[in-house]
Subunit: 625 residues, 2 copies
């Protein structure tokens, strides 16, 4: 009579050192699936209202899903969830690699971390057994060294380690949690939460392979993926940097703190240029054939162990800062991975500081004498090092993120911010991709580009595969225009629900998406059925996504967030300069109307808060009103 | 690039006699699918606000779906849609038989009937050609004679005819539209709308078989159904009357105008008793192997051509009126089918009149001297004949339906009503099946038992098949208790969406349901894919259901309906007497809280009106605000 999934959750109290294992019901697993929704469950249940994000009352959950560890492309992802020290609202960060699969092999679907350790520790999970170990000797180490040291002292090179670098230890508000020295839970400062708990790392190892209900179906899906890798060869060949040129051509490459959508130096930031110059090899996550991950090397400067820059990193450390030097961008990427910082927030914060400096809003003393102008790569690198270690006036100021920094220096600096809910904006421009104006505004953990499909793919001329995939999500009427009308709000909302499901099922958005990826939503539904044996429908899976979204909104509402927090920064309504988007700006009335409409589509009140009935519909009436 | 469905809509203006053919886009078909949603589209587009339901401005649509005519069990259903003369709000009535399939074979998915003919006419559709023909010689005929006469004069015994009897001509507010003399679009008075247009009948014939995208898959689904007919053999053996005994045992057999849920005479109303006494044979609809339809014969009294009484008819003409005589109930069924009246409203209206008479609220003159007491079968039959022809004081009074009759006689008569939105309640009791308290209140076309799943099937001990089917709709947590809590509101809402899809896809609810039927929602999804070639998901199909529901609510809101119309009658809150439900009553607070919760789940405002954002989400922003 059951749904046939058995899993374990590890509960670790860092204050007391106690470790417990929970075995939730199969209904629980089918309801929350894993990843973000599962993490939110424990955060909502355990974090008291008003808890200090960097205090012992915050709870950090690292979770995978009922699918993780199954050898199919794009299934090795983990999620970090906690109250965010950057936004003060819900935090959420997703990462790939091998750690997620290895956590599953070690016997657990999630680790719920409570309290605060009196001294640095790391957590060692080995085939169902878990222990906290002293990490005093690791404190202060960069991410690569931490991983090497733990593998060495535990005597197993196959141990996977995720952890924090000096930025997390120093409570940089956009610190990341990094595994393999190059896979980051980057956004919303989850590394600072881990640092506040004095948990340096989590090492995992095991041989518990996940149960698969229908082996043959899973093999068929894997083989189909192998046969269709050619459909995503742009991503394979050039990584996410593949889109630099097209972004620039569309006027959507954020340049000099979002004042322009075109960058004269874009050609030396392109994926093709990377492949011709510094690319050493292509890397992959567990069992994935797409191999989108870059490995670059710059002699005496950038080590291959730190991977290579993604598009977001290239744009935020590059064009966002007016920098066309790919080696410098790669070194910046290395610094961020070594120290454990989100490249997006780091780059965007520096870009903001550059504009402030050029406009005289930051003095020479504020920036420790750096020539912090757009285009100065050395200044960008120096700023990154200072932030990660909270060194100097500049490091201490920017380690708080641009929104807090602006509040501190006051004056016009706030007008230059490119943030929502205090989180810096990724490198896709709402002025050009109008659906992003909506999702950046309303996304519960701040501006995010991985929470819905961007509109350029929503195109009447889209190829048959894309058209069929969008239709599977009930999106029959292509709407390519640069306008945020009802159809595009619906497009944004429906694809948001699907992405929200992916982030709970821990399915990589580069393999499983609603349009241009290797697999589409139809195969995603098929895969969940094959792995779990559950007879899930797309209706149920979309409700999982909706459940996760509503849990985030309910958390935020509890912390006092509402419509006032769903606001785009002033700059987005000022015309862009140059290129294909010259003169283009977001429209304030259009955006406000879209937000109203979106709230109504979501079944929320006009403050953007889920109604009690909506929560009840999603089985979330246990969340206090 | 298209979705590959080509179909035609026939537009008939009865005022002018003009006939036009429309060929909607494939996106239109994929959006509305057919049946109720498609009919609502034309009603919302064409009926002006405030139009008299019995005037020329009302529009009556008879529609089938993209599936109709495909030879699979339970796919020959049609829907009648118009503003209802009974409720003043949206009207909706579903029927089976052979007419729906034959309409499809004639070349059309729907007939949109506007205006008002100056003289009686009938519509003859023959293989894509349509003409209006004089029906003066048919006016006044009963349904069986009309069918025979039309077949005879057109010279083809295979013509299928649907039409109205004297009740529709006389604008009885619960008049039906009947085909085969025994398949009725019973509810909400669609026959009166047809009568007001002076359209006696619609005759159809054709050989245009529907396109099937995947013949092999459709054959497989049909064969699977044949192999599993044994799973629904109760329905096959005893028809819907199969449940009389279990309803009585549960205290849910409405007795003497809903004052009790148990009837001492139930044994002579049971399906088994029918099979042993008056059952002549089992009948079926086009291509359906379930054969739930009864054919009964009572020498010199009940002719087999009029079929046999369904459970609803047995309960409303039987226990509702305190009558245990199955032959009389069968004769009453024959009268209703011959004259063209809804058996539910007819029986419930007479039951109400019986209580009024017993309590002295109706005088001997009001009832034309009939001894209109509970249990008097002859009085029930006399009343039916009088109503259908609007004869005498009683016939004229009750032809208006019980709600208008109560308003006319005034006093305590209103307290005895068993109506919502002016429509009489079917024979399932909300006191016992608590989910019905919600759906009876909120259903847009008045109290209805075919608009959501009833809670007894929602049971933790349900067999594996039922459990899997409910899980496919996202319903994982069984809730069998007699309480209208959040889980049951969700159950009601989700199954309502699914039924709403079925009523648009014109899939029979006795073959395709979320629990106890031959097929479940998983096979329903598979079938739509196989027939149409559309890669539809359950998400999309549930949205079709939601679309139809919101169209109905939007129509009602336009006509001034709101929360005040979503009210259960007083009697439901008074304790029942006797049997298993002795002392049981609906709870007012529980019901009101459930309605609030339901509105929020549906994304409506607190007046029960769809928000503009919800309409936009469903692609319905063309409906004026």
């Amino acid at each position: 009579m059951g749904y046939g999934y058995n899993g374990k959750i590890l509960h670790v109290n860092l204050t007391t050192g106690s470790i417990d294992v929970e075995e939730p019901t199969d209904v629980f697993y089918r309801t929350y699936v894993g990843g973000s929704a599962l993490g939110l469950y424990y955060v909502l249940k355990n974090v008291p209202k008003g808890a200090d994000p960097l205090g012992p009352d915050n709870v950090l959950v690292l979770s995978v899903s009922v699918l993780t560890g199954v050898p199919v492309h794009g299934l090795s992802r983990s999620v970090a969830t906690a109250r965010s020290p950057l936004t003060g609202l819900i935090g959420d960060a997703q990462a790939g690699g091998f750690w997620p699969a290895e956590l599953k092999f070690s016997g657990f679907d999630a680790i719920v971390l409570k309290g605060q350790s009196p001294r640095p520790v790391y957590l060692w999970i080995n085939n169902g057994r878990a222990e906290l170990r002293d990490a005093s000797h690791l404190w202060g180490l960069e991410n690569l060294e931490t991983m090497q040291q733990i593998r060495s002292e535990l005597g197993d090179e196959k141990i996977e380690v995720t952890g924090i670098g000096p930025a997390g230890e120093n409570l940089v508000r956009f610190a990341s949690i990094v595994s393999m020295a190059n896979r980051a839970h980057g956004r919303t400062g989850m590394g600072a939460v881990m640092g506040s708990k004095r948990l340096k790392a989590i090492a995992v190892r095991g041989d518990k392979r996940p149960a698969i209900a229908d082996q043959e179906a899973v093999r068929r899906i894997t083989r189909w993926g192998v046969d269709h890798l050619g459909d995503v060869d742009g991503l394979a060949k050039y990584g996410t940097a593949n889109i630099v040129g097209s972004q620039d051509a569309a006027g959507g490459l954020p340049t000099r703190n979002f004042t322009s959508g075109t960058f004269e130096g874009y050609e030396t930031l392109e994926g093709e240029y990377m492949a011709e110059t510094i690319l050493k090899e292509r890397d992959t996550c567990y069992a994935c054939g797409v191999k989108c991950k870059r490995v670059v090397e710059v002699k005496d400067r950038v080590r291959p162990e730190y991977g290579g820059p993604e598009y977001e990193t290239i744009a935020t450390l590059g064009s966002y800062c007016g920098i066309a030097d790919l080696a410098a961008v790669s070194e910046g990427n290395q610094i961020c991975n070594a120290l454990g910082m989100d490249t997006i927030s780091a780059g965007a914060t520096i870009a903001w500081a550059m504009e402030c400096y050029e406009k005289g809003l930051l003095t020479a003393s504020d920036v420790d004498g750096l020539d912090l102008r757009f285009g100065n790569a050395d200044a960008m690198l120096a700023a990154l090092r200072a932030i990660g270690r909270r060194q100097g006036n500049l490091g201490r100021l920017l380690a708080e993120g641009s929104a807090r920094a602006a509040a501190k220096i006051g004056g016009k600096a706030t007008d230059l911010l490119i943030t929502v809910k205090g989180q810096e904006m990724p490198a896709h421009m709402p002025q050009v991709k109008r659906s992003l104006a909506l999702i950046y505004a309303v996304n519960p953990f701040g501006a995010d580009h991985m929470s819905s499909e961007h509109d350029p793919n929503y195109n009447p001329d889209a190829e048959e595969t894309k058209r069929r995939r969008l239709a599977y999500l009930g999106l029959l009427n292509p709407q390519p225009d640069r306008v945020l009308n009802a159809e595009k709000v619906r497009f944004t909302y429906y694809t948001e629900l699907f992405y929200s499901f992916l982030d709970s099922a821990c399915m990589c958005q580069f393999d499983w998406g609603p349009a241009w990826t290797l697999y589409g939503p139809e195969e995603a539904n098929e895969l969940v059925r094959a792995v779990t044996g559950w007879n899930v429908s797309m209706f149920e899976l979309m409700k999982v996504g909706e459940r996760r979204l509503n849990m985030m909104r309910a958390f935020n509402a509890r912390e006092g967030a509402g419509r006032a927090h769903d606001r785009l920064p002033k700059r987005l309504f000022e015309p862009l300069k140059g290129g294909a988007s010259d003169g283009v700006a977001c429209d304030h009335g259009e955006t406000e109307r879209a937000i109203d409409m979106y709230y109504q589509m979501a079944g929320w009140d006009n403050n953007g808060t889920p109604t009690r009935g909506k929560l009840a519909e999603l089985g979330l009436d246990w969340i206090p009103g």
